[in-house]
Symmetry: C2
């Protein structure tokens, strides 16, 4: 083991700045704890003029990523530029130069990770990606090491701070999605183009990684079911509350009948579940193991310093334990596995039908639900708007997604139904 490790960072944005800050300001602390001196040797970024509020030693900044990747002194290359290209090439080149790499880039790991891990294994180097999921929460370490003795039963994650902020705002202040989004944008929690966050794409990237770690399968982003939060209304949140639930954008991976589920969608969670209390930009991941039972990990899912905390933990881990073993844990199973098709899943469901306010509507709708073996647990019907349409809310016991899709299609064709039905999958114990 070396007692000095040289680190190079590519990308001096938010997370790059946080990482640099920690490496500089907490250098003595980390050295005391580990016996290793971590030296920040280079930071590459196209913009090396802007003031980031930290004092970087002279000679560290460069506009040339090659000066990091090809520096023979540098042991660990930290990729924090984001995006797929040229980040991927930078990482692969670093790996080929026998450098360990650390990244916070979930999109890159989720979509190109299999190739990067294979190349790393070939070159005997590590790939650290703790910062790619749930920011400062050490969830990758928990899954790979802390719960290594467990068959993973299920993982449920609130792993997109933007969506969680929006849903929390809608819940607390009874505002509509678009207003909550605007506020998130104003506060810098959502980007000008919020698609990645609100459509569940970012969540799906992270879920891909969690699922691979949990079940030892190759990264399979394309097989994740994705549904965003844009259709959720303040009214749905109020109905959910009345029924004893919160609405959260959940990433779910679990084993059902030997098949692996990977899905991202708005989900109703019972108020008494701890994860339903995770509000604002905070993230949390619930992990159930066959030995450990229920566990939950909570913290900030983004930000310069929390994400930097995870990046530096990866760098330290690699330096402490430089034996190639950590690379195991993604894709270790070469045997059969099957990703469950979305229409094969089973769940409880919340339906909001837009029904004309006429006699017999409930009977028609519930008749169709019954035909598809969807059994009703509770109904809320409120207010009357003569001749107009009213929301009819139905909470259903466990049913098959396939049946739900068919039933909704049939119901949406009824003349007494004025608008497309919204349904939300519901977690919790059957009563």
């Amino acid at each position: 083991m070396k007692d000095k490790i040289h680190v190079g960072i590519i990308g001096f944005g938010t997370v790059g700045t946080g990482t640099a800050k920690i490496l500089i300001e907490n250098r003595e602390l980390i050295k005391k704890r580990t016996g290793i001196d971590f030296i920040l040797k280079r930071i590459a970024d196209l913009d090396i003029k802007r003031d980031r509020g930290i004092k970087v030693p002279e000679g560290v900044l460069t506009t040339d990523a090659g000066a990091v990747i090809n520096d023979p002194d540098i042991d660990v290359v930290v990729e924090l530029m984001g995006g797929i290209h040229p980040a991927k090439d930078f990482m692969l080149n670093a790996v080929k130069n026998k450098k360990h790499v650390v990244t916070a880039n979930k999109a890159l790991i989720a979509t190109e990770g299999n190739e990067i891990f294979a190349e790393a294994e070939k070159n005997g180097v590590e790939v650290g990606f703790e910062a790619s999921v749930a920011g400062g929460i050490p969830i990758i370490k928990v899954l790979r090491e802390g719960l290594v003795a467990n068959n993973i039963v299920a993982v449920y994650g609130i792993i997109n701070g933007t969506s969680n902020y929006i849903l929390t705002k809608m819940t607390d202040e009874k505002v509509e999605f678009s207003d909550a989004l605007k506020e998130a944008q104003r506060l810098g929690y959502a980007e000008a183009d919020p698609t990645f966050d609100i459509e569940g794409i970012d969540t799906a990237h992270k879920l891909t990684i969690l699922s691979s770690l949990s079940y030892g399968i190759p990264l399979s982003y394309n097989e994740v079911y994705k549904e965003g939060i844009t259709k959720i209304t303040a009214q749905d949140i109020e109905f959910a509350s009345e029924l004893g639930y919160k609405i959260k954008l959940l990433a779910i991976t679990k084993l059902s009948n030997g098949e692996i589920e990977m899905r991202v969608h708005p989900t109703m969670i019972p108020n008494e579940y701890l994860i339903s209390k995770v509000d604002g930009v905070f993230n949390a991941v619930y992990v159930e193991g066959d030995a450990v039972g229920s566990t939950l990990y909570y913290g900030r899912g983004a930000g310069d310093m929390p994400t930097g905390s995870a990046v530096v933990a990866d760098i330290v881990d690699i330096a402490r334990c430089d034996n190639g073993q950590k690379a195991k844990g993604i894709g270790y199973v070469s045997a059969d596995y099957k990703i469950r098709k979305m229409e094969d899943i089973e769940s409880m469901y919340y339906f909001r039908f837009s029904a004309m306010d006429q006699p017999g509507v409930l009977s028609k709708i519930s008749g169709i639900l019954g035909n598809y073996n969807i059994s009703i647990a509770s109904v809320i019907q409120k207010g009357r708007r003569l001749g107009g349409s009213v929301p009819l809310v139905v909470l259903a016991h466990t049913a098959k997604e396939r049946d739900v899709l068919s039933a909704v299609k049939e119901i949406d064709n009824l003349p007494v139904v004025s608008d497309k039905t919204l349904f939300i999958r519901v977690e919790g114990k059957e009563e």
Copy 2:
């Protein structure tokens, strides 16, 4: 790195059985994940007849601990017998035989750990103790590795399931301490002699370990302030609830003015804090780091399988990364440090005075509080019992413990105060 690791267990009780179960039943899973085959070679216990509900291969059971400690094949000795003697000698002998050791024994680590770690370092072996705090929650790993880049600002833990069960029961069912304790004993959550749990001793053992990891100081059990939950009444819980708080037995360690606080006592926590929702036998540890901010880790703090999960994670870690680096992290600071004296701490406070129902009592009590710079935030006084005594509840802004002790002493000497004052420290933001 070896591809086969031989494990010997001393102590075939609850945790020993869980550990053996996991090593046997999840052996293939762990081998797939790590590339290492973990072989359970020996289990020593005085009683090897009792049926533990698992099938142990022939030749594994022995009544002789020496058969584990001195077996040249065994790489890792797992001490799960509990107690100080002879567990300590067994561990030291194993270490002297150049065997790594893993234990769930918080009392042993907290009180004799400094000697054991020193001996382990001398012999170049590891001591794993993940299972000693918070059962299956990988909190030791989180502090040592996941948050290695952080100065730890504070740690707050609910780390004794028995006390938390009792307080939850008192809260949910409005029963008194003694009834809740009886129920805990009936369910096997509390022992016949519950002293260790309800007097905060077990919590203090665990806090000692968390504090050493957080601040790099030698294990200092004797300097932990300990106060149990026996004086909390159903009425206090109700008053707390009225004021917006839950009462929990908290382990607290934090830095204040360069001094380290280590204290265990009942604590009022605002309802909106996630940790206040941790109920029943569950444990949770809140950790605040200078980079990562607020994080929380939640799960089962005891039980055969959860604790076994942590034991096996330690065994795997040692096998994966056999380079002596993990031993760093307890006692790495040789420099000055100071444990803060309890009377030097500052906190908000809840007081329940037993005041005679007479005019002028509130003015007398609040006068004395004022003399000691204890400023009142809210008061609850309810009911009248002519000539009798009524509870007078005061919530005070941040004050010095030293002043609180003096004020309470003076107040308890007033003729209009009929019984000893109970006070509870209060966490949360000043309003």
